[in-house]
């Protein structure tokens, strides 16, 4: 187990190193930050001093090493636009995004799992067909478009909920402590949950259909267990592990998709920050965001693989490529 763990850890570190090179090169190619940084009226002398201060006159590989060295110390530099350390800038936006993504995942799970089980339990029923149609719509329709429709109906037409922004924040920088906070959170969370909702319905239905046809469900029924117990205990238990896996893996992509929802609803999270930095050519913020997101993904994948290795010894043996 320790060898497996160390092997995976080394692989994750290698991936991070490769990604840091790619991100650095990619962002480097975007444009000359000097034009953003320096007042056009600055004298050539001031210009040169700034170029030297940021190390932009060094060869590319030296710039990378310098960058890698500071990143390993947790220093991503200062934002060109906000003039504050990038790491604290991104971390200050983190609670908003985490709150949004978590609420969205919870909505998707609480609605998607029961509906998926029903659709898998009664695959031929009319209601099941309707559920499946909803799931197709859920991941066919672009997220930003659904967001606009939600705003049109609930904010413009009925005026029930605000059209964007975030409510007052309390402890931990979260806005879930007040009812007003929830009125702001509800629409974006619903919007973000839709894709995962459609995905979960399909996944759970497929799992349920498979388990329903298996031996142990037939035996459970033959024992005379009530249907509620058959579904609630045996089916749920057997589809539980894949659902948890997907939940873990999809959480990362929900964070990435929050980019769209945050822009639509003017939600002050990390996603909105990255879009703003791309438009403003704020290089340090882009680099830091991308590296942090990749790190998050690598960690989640690592965690899921380790859990597998823990649960299923076979994975450990064939784990090494």
């Amino acid at each position: 187990m320790l060898g497996f763990f160390l092997g995976r850890l080394a692989q994750a570190a290698l991936v991070m190193l490769v990604m840091s090179v790619l991100v650095f090169l990619g962002v480097y190619a975007i444009g000359n930050p000097i034009d953003v940084l320096i007042d056009p009226a600055a004298s050539p002398g001031q210009r040169l001093a700034l170029i030297q201060q940021y190390g932009l006159d060094l060869p590319l590989w030296q710039q990378y090493l310098r960058f890698l060295g500071s990143v390993l110390q947790g220093d991503f530099g200062n934002s060109f636009v906000f003039r504050i350390p990038v790491l604290s800038l991104i971390l200050s936006r983190l609670p908003a995004t985490l709150e949004l993504a978590t609420t969205a995942m919870l909505i998707a799970t609480l609605l998607g799992v029961p509906l998926g089980i029903w659709a898998g339990y009664r695959p031929q029923a009319r209601s099941s067909k309707a559920i499946m149609a909803v799931s197709v719509i859920g991941f066919s329709v672009p997220t930003f478009w659904v967001g606009l429709l939600l705003i049109l109906f609930f904010a413009v037409e009925f005026r029930w909920l605000p059209s964007g922004g975030r409510g007052p924040t309390g402890a931990l920088g979260l806005s879930i402590w007040s009812a007003e906070g929830w009125t702001f959170l509800l629409l974006p969370a619903l919007n973000l949950s839709l894709f995962k909702f459609g995905l979960l319905i399909r996944l759970v239905r497929a799992g349920t259909e498979e388990v329903m046809g298996s031996e142990h469900v037939r035996f459970a029924r033959a024992q005379g267990l009530p249907e509620r117990q058959v579904v609630g205990l045996h089916v749920l238990k057997n589809i539980g592990i894949p659902i948890i896996t997907v939940f873990g893996l999809e959480f990362g992509s929900t964070l990435a998709f929050a980019v769209v929802t945050e822009t639509v609803f003017n939600w002050p999270g990390m996603g909105k920050l990255i879009i703003e930095s791309i438009t403003a050519l704020d290089r340090p913020v882009m680099v830091a965001y991308l590296i942090l997101v990749v790190l998050l993904f690598v960690l989640i994948n690592l965690l899921v693989e380790l859990t597998y290795g823990f649960l299923d010894p076979r994975v450990r043996v064939k784990g090494a490529p």
Partner: protein, 291 residues
């Protein structure tokens, strides 16, 4: 694939009325996009032909051009029906081209990895898996940020974000076929390896790839619209559907819903119809269903 198989496949496909309807919608959308320059009342790319007096006309009003704007006009005085038709044309061109190129690139990588195996196959699939673990929107976002705005850049971003799906599918299907006797038999004849790959391995991995290509084209349309909506896609002088929607968003809050809503409906119908067709194709082409 011969005529009998096609007929049988169609018989199977026809069983779902929803899927047939979706196929009709797809055909209609493609036809409208192809014919856009001839059937659109106005050329939305011709800036000189736009009249600001016609801006934000509600649906059904007659503008200074003397014809009825059935879907209204946008804030620059563009006839929305024309803009939607041209937008569809642009969105479809970008996503179909990107989808097909991604298919060729991805299938080549996947097939080669399955056929040759070894360190090359392992490395190629490792990269593909790594990429698949990252969401496509993120990759496309980074690519567009790096490459800048424009049609070729957008296509490149979509290809880079999507080829991995084809590579993974082709690799899976080809690895399963590779072990079968007919491939071994073909390899024992003096046929060249390339010929076995193209004439024997490739045709048998096509069904799953066809399903993936439909789904990926729908995803590409959606992604392109999303990127344009975020302001990272195409310039406003050549509006795609996503940009039309983004553009109308600011007027939505003041009740001028049509600028955003009609392009949105066109986008939604297109993506939904393609996905439904893909869904049914998956059922028809599923090897477990074949008798």
């Amino acid at each position: 694939m011969n005529a009998t198989a096609l007929r049988e496949g169609w018989a199977e496909y026809r069983r779902s009325p929803v899927a047939v309807l979706a196929l009709l919608v797809v055909v209609a959308v493609v036809a409208l996009a192809l014919l856009a320059p001839w059937i659109a009342p106005q050329d939305p790319y011709n800036q000189a032909g736009l009249d600001l007096f016609d801006a934000r006309l509600p649906p059904g009003e007659t503008g200074s051009g003397g014809y009825v704007h059935w879907l209204g006009t946008d804030n620059a005085g563009r006839d929305l029906l024309s803009a939607i038709l041209y937008g569809l044309r642009l969105s479809l061109t970008i996503s179909v081209t990107a989808g097909l190129v991604a298919l060729v690139v991805g299938a080549a990588i996947g097939l080669a990895a399955a056929y040759y195996g070894g360190w090359f196959g392992a490395l190629a699939m490792r990269v593909v898996d790594l990429q698949l673990s990252l969401p496509a929107i993120l990759l496309a976002l980074v690519m567009v940020a790096m490459l800048g705005q424009g049609v070729p850049q957008l296509m490149l971003a979509l290809i880079a974000a999507q080829y991995a799906y084809f590579a993974r599918t082709a690799f899976g299907a080809a690895s399963a076929e590779r072990r079968k006797d007919y491939i071994e038999a073909a390899l024992s004849t003096p046929l060249s390896g390339g010929r076995v790959l193209l004439r024997h391995l490739l045709p048998n991995t096509l069904p799953p790839l066809i399903v993936v290509v439909t789904v990926q084209i729908a995803t590409a349309i959606s992604l392109e619209a999303t990127l344009s909506f975020l302001g990272l896609g195409l310039p406003i002088t050549r509006p795609s559907l996503g940009l039309l929607i983004a553009n109308g968003f600011q007027f939505m809050l003041s009740g001028r819903y049509w600028i955003s809503v009609y392009p949105g409906i066109a986008l939604m119908l297109t993506v939904l119809a393609i996905n439904l067709v893909g869904d049914q194709l998956r059922q028809v082409l599923n090897p477990r269903r074949r008798r």
